[in-house]
Homo-oligomer: 380 residues x 2
């Protein structure tokens, strides 16, 4: 299959440091190539891939200091459109800017929504461009928007990677991701202090969260049990997760997936997660971790987590959350898009009901403008 993957431009693919979506796009792309597909990746110029790379900007925009990504994304989407005829399927990971440009190509496009959908800011666009097939990354992500044009849920997956090390010290807890109020690092610190177990915090601090970090979190870091490491790369991450007793995921928002839970799982490390967003869909209670709703319950779960079979944690990862499974799910989704009869994919009505086209044209080429009566179509 000739597949275009259209990545966000915030980070390179894969990202040098933080960057969940670009990481997933990388894993998916590499796995699709491995499975023999012909993949073109639209991404920042500092990306590395075994697919064909179309460099849309010189480097990832966040580290390049570009704050408003709209212009760069529009330029990339224009290049995707220019090359559109070369692809059987175009897979977007960039939210919504592509909807107007690719509406009439909805019979060979799909969009994975990677973010939260509970903010009403974005809802109008899903109503207006309702022919664009959407993929959710969890069932809970869909809840605020049940009537959108959902095609499938595809949970994220990771490369197998080496088997977890046998000599794990399990002497500490891990918190990994962003320092932000909704990630509740304060809860993680509280749990560690109550349990008397060291906590390693590896996290980036966005400019928007700088004040929260300085005023709420930093004062709590000056404690013998708490260690703040900052933003780390992939290799350090595996060490950090693999040697941890458990990952703490004490979130307080509708997390659409929670990639770090399966990154821990891959290293055989269970997660103590709050019952919110996709957490109950990812953790198998009593196998790969525990789902809690209070600090007390989290502290109690730590003892149980110590006795979980870490081989079984890894085993469950291999069954549910590999990149190979994710890629296979996406191939199934691509086939559904391509096979879908028009009836199951509602189409926008033209202002004037369309007359038959004189020559068969791929859907992607259909005129995306309202039709004028009398001049819009040629009768043979």
């Amino acid at each position: 299959m000739r597949i275009a993957q259209v990545a966000p431009l915030a980070e390179s693919v894969p990202p040098r440091l933080y960057g969940g979506t670009e990481r997933v796009v990388s894993w998916l792309t590499e796995e699709l190539v491995r499975q023999g597909h012909q993949v073109t990746l639209f991404a920042s110029g500092d990306s590395t891939t075994s697919a064909q790379l179309v460099r849309s900007v010189p480097e990832g925009l966040r580290l390049g200091g570009i704050r408003d990504h709209t212009a760069s994304l529009l330029v990339m989407l224009d290049e995707v459109r220019r090359q559109a005829a070369d692809f059987d399927i175009i897979h977007f990971h960039v939210d919504l800017l592509q909807f107007p440009m690719f509406r009439k190509a909805s019979d060979r496009c799909l969009t994975t929504l990677h973010g939260r959908l509970d903010l009403s800011d974005f809802h109008p666009v899903y109503r207006t461009f309702r022919t664009m097939p959407l993929v959710s990354i969890s069932a809970s992500q869909r809840v605020p928007l049940p009537a959108a044009n959902w095609l499938a849920t595809v949970q994220h997956g990771l490369p197998f990677g080496p088997p977890p090390a046998e000599t794990q010290d399990r002497s500490y807890l891990a918190f990994l991701g962003r320092i932000a109020p909704e990630k509740r690092p304060d809860r993680a610190i509280e749990i560690a202090k109550r349990a008397g177990i060291p906590l390693k915090i590896a996290a980036k601090v966005d400019p928007a969260d700088q004040e929260y970090f300085q005023h709420v979190i930093q004062p709590q870091l000056d404690h013998p049990l708490i260690e703040f490491i900052g933003e780390i790369g992939d290799h350090e991450k595996r060490d950090l997760l693999g040697n941890a007793l458990a990952l703490l995921f004490p979130i307080d928002w509708p997390e659409p997936f929670g990639l770090v839970m399966i990154e821990a799982m891959r290293e055989g490390t269970p997660t103590i997660g709050w019952r919110s967003g996709a957490v109950p869909e990812v953790i198998d209670e009593g196998v790969t971790g525990y789902i809690v709703e209070s600090i007390d319950a989290a502290v109690a779960a730590l003892t149980k987590a110590f006795f979980l079979d870490r081989k079984a944690v890894r085993q469950r990862f291999e069954e549910r959350f590999t990149a190979s499974r994710m890629a296979q799910d996406y191939i199934t989704a691509y086939e559904r898009v391509l096979d879908a009869p028009t009836a199951t994919m509602p189409r926008e009505r033209s202002v004037i009901p369309p007359r038959p086209l004189p020559i068969a044209m791929p859907g992607a080429l259909a005129d995306d403008w309202p039709q004028f009566s009398g001049v819009s179509q040629v009768q043979i």
Copy 2:
């Protein structure tokens, strides 16, 4: 002429409180209607206009609590496209999201750029969508982007309004707009204190500037000469400006126009402005104000400002900055777009050079997708 005006959705048209672009769109729209044109205004549902209003969202997004405007703008632009056949010209005031959707309609579109252009974030889009005619609101605004597809510079204009009151007390200075580092309210406060003249500050504080307000400006407000009024409406604004000795405009950024300077001018009130951005293009030195580069020069200019002929200030407003003049300039720009031979408006090349169309089609309807060889055009 059948004209579409496409407004931003941050504020109603006109805005209830702050909102420069929506205010200009309102003045332009009303003046075009007054001159006998058939105008359709795409704007928020709480807008008021004598044009035909297409309500794109229920209310202005800022006061409605919507932070990300992208989805709402895309939905509005889709509606513009749906109605595109009804207009001779489509005039956008929404920066860049319309570029991909209306590229092939560039022979009857134009876009006024209302913001600063010195941020490189946006430059890629002007290169890629280089057929879209652009209007600048000052010459200085263009400087960072000289090679864009500039059609004209049209300075803003205001409705005549009633003649300035004769009984102006001129006992204070005015600062009006946003509290933000680049607007330098601190300079205004310093000038007032040095000159010993009261200063009235009427300004909104955006969430992004809350910290600057609290830490830098608020401590300076506790002084007998300084009065902070907050955000005010149009009527209060005229009073505030009309009774002021001078408007202080001590900006420290490339202000693309500086609407408040001509709002003061309309009331016969001169401006003391910093030499930056469009200030030297708006102020006629020694007639409608003074252009300075230091606090000392600003304090010295206040004495001269007291002796300026306020009738001459108003007179200069009537000559240069009325809505009627602005509307006439735009009509001239619209005619230039419609009359332009293709040669002066560079067009994107198709992948396959286009063959003659079998039936004359307006440019706006041309297929916006790359052409496949052999199926793209019908030969008669």
